[in-house]
Symmetry: C2
Subunit: 352 residues, 2 copies
């Protein structure tokens, strides 16, 4: 059903992102990169399509993730507010580390810009620092390139790496089985995904970003910028437990991200909570189908844990102490494959 049942409204393709061309280019790239180093240079763990790359070095396993804030920086520029995306730079990366149960150790940033503006850089730094505090992660270096011939505005990218405290194994989803419960943790808004689409809608419908949406008090521009919630303490609190079978950051690709954890079970999301009003507002702005919404946005749940049913109570106790007391049961694992939201008639079979 992945491509079926769409309303004739807006979609990512109409917003200028052709996912299939991207996939073809990426396949061509990956087909060329086949080199495997000798074991004296570390032993990579084969986890294609997962959230993080893993490599064993001596007794340690190191996890690495890399991501950019994407076109959310263009909205930041439009509004002249840079702290939020600075914080996002941490969140988009460390939440992927959290998805394999790794504890963050370090981040490096890459700032590409046309013209460096000390005030914007200072604000990015303040936001980044807040993100590092939330993730308990060090900034270990970075690159700032002034490349007006390559970028317009600012691109914010980063790479985070983490490790597994003594006794902890990477949480990769292999132990997920029918009967497991799916816990969801609320998001802070759109986080840093879907902004190419949202920006097109805001432009098309000439939305005044300085005014609040009906029933709210924050200007909508500011509401859209709210930084990605950081889930690393939540993951860290439960990743040591063998009963935590899977962890997933609901980032670009929406609920389809769950497929990355296990291809041979079905994630049945039959208790998905009412999304906060920002999501239906975006949906109605563009006349978007539910299918497009759930494949693009986090829809109110930014992180997911898959837990053995019999350990739910103990898991909840640990979560409360780690700031994860908002966990709600959003569904369960069944026999089958893909991700479904039965009440909306949605089923996704793959991630891309």
């Amino acid at each position: 059903m992945e491509a079926a049942g769409r309303d004739p409204g807006w979609s990512y393709a109409r917003a200028g992102v052709d996912v299939s061309v991207r996939s073809r280019a990426l396949s061509a790239f990956l087909a060329s990169v086949r080199y495997v180093p000798p074991p004296s240079h570390g032993r990579p763990v084969d986890l294609p399509g997962h959230y993080a790359g893993l490599v064993r070095i001596g007794r340690e396993t190191i996890a690495v993730t890399t991501d950019t804030v994407g076109t959310k920086t263009l909205l930041a520029e439009q509004l002249g507010r840079w702290e939020e995306v600075g914080e996002d730079l941490v969140g988009v990366n460390v939440n992927d580390l959290a998805s394999v149960g790794a504890r963050p150790a370090g981040l490096v940033d890459t700032i590409l810009c046309a013209h460096p503006n000390p005030e914007a850089f200072s604000a990015i730094g303040r936001g980044l620092n807040r993100g590092l505090k939330a993730a308990e992660c060090a900034l270990l270096g970075g690159e700032t390139a002034i490349v007006p011939d390559i970028v317009a505005g600012i691109d914010l990218g980063g790479t985070a790496f983490g490790f597994f405290p003594r006794g902890r194994h990477p949480v990769i989803g292999a132990r997920i089985r029918p009967g497991d419960q799916i816990l969801g943790f609320r998001s802070n808004g759109l986080h840093a995904n879907g902004f190419t689409l949202v920006r097109r809608l805001l432009e098309e419908y000439r939305t005044d970003l300085t005014r609040p949406r009906p029933g709210t008090e924050t200007p909508v521009g500011q509401e859209l910028l709210v930084p990605t919630r950081i889930y690393t303490r939540i993951a860290d609190a439960i990743a040591d437990r063998g009963e935590t079978h899977g962890l997933a950051h609901i980032s670009g690709g929406g609920v389809r991200n769950l497929v990355r954890l296990h291809p041979h079970v079905e994630f049945v999301l039959d208790r998905w909570p009412e999304p906060p009003s920002l999501f239906p507002w975006v949906q109605s702005l563009g006349g978007l189908a539910n299918d497009e919404m759930f494949r693009t946005f986090n829809m109110g749940i930014g992180f997911v844990a898959i837990v053995a049913r019999e350990h739910l109570a103990e898991t909840r106790r640990r979560l409360v102490r780690a700031g994860g007391g908002d966990a709600v049961e959003i569904g369960r694992v069944e026999r089958g494959s893909g991700v479904s939201l039965p009440s909306l008639g949605l089923h996704y079979s793959g991630y891309e």
Copy 2:
């Protein structure tokens, strides 16, 4: 003498790169990022201004570097040749790891582009694979973002991390002392630095990139694209030895990079070999001063090792086995500070 004695020719500032504005923005950014995580999240090693960030995790020390290929990708695009810059993506990062004596373990790439072209991506992958082979490094992940509103063409960035095999300490330059010898290893051309300036010159003087320079046979465009030489095996062969006091990648900033190793000695480069003819050709194209050339380009030497004089012979033997038989003595360490090339009357006191 950093700003003195310039000819009225081209310079980086005239080519549109204002280094002081970049420095101010970067300082504003770094002043905001002060968070230090608890030791349970790894113990960062304080090495400001050095080539790599270091963090101790359990018994391992992990080194991280991040860099982009910069505006060399614009020349690649102009020529429709992508393999070389794909290989550069590895070189610009792993050579910085080599500068602290770390052995590469993994790389992640970030490709930002306006429109993904499968042929270009395939060529980038082939080049990247060649670089990984040369560095004996695994590709552990990556991010491909199609962001036509942010980039024109393609930006290629990456982050590499490495480790120190049992018994090896990071080579940070602290042991460098007067009397040490400075060995230089030849470069493959411009590598991936100085391209904003070079591209402006090529454009200004309408250079035909499809024709060779006088006395050569390769089209000059192709000659300029030759990928960064990878020095990781060279560094790996001598980094275990306590007599290897310093290692330095001669990247953006030219010979000034040596100041990063030790602020309280003088690197006297009194035997710098005649630069390959590409460098004087670029110099004459723009009427560039020697000062500008040595602060911008590698001038024929892409990597440097600082070695205790009494261990020079043994070091040479190890280098031959690791593909570093081209090492030449280019100078020595003296009391003082900064970097000097006495025969050209040049002295650099700092890196930026």
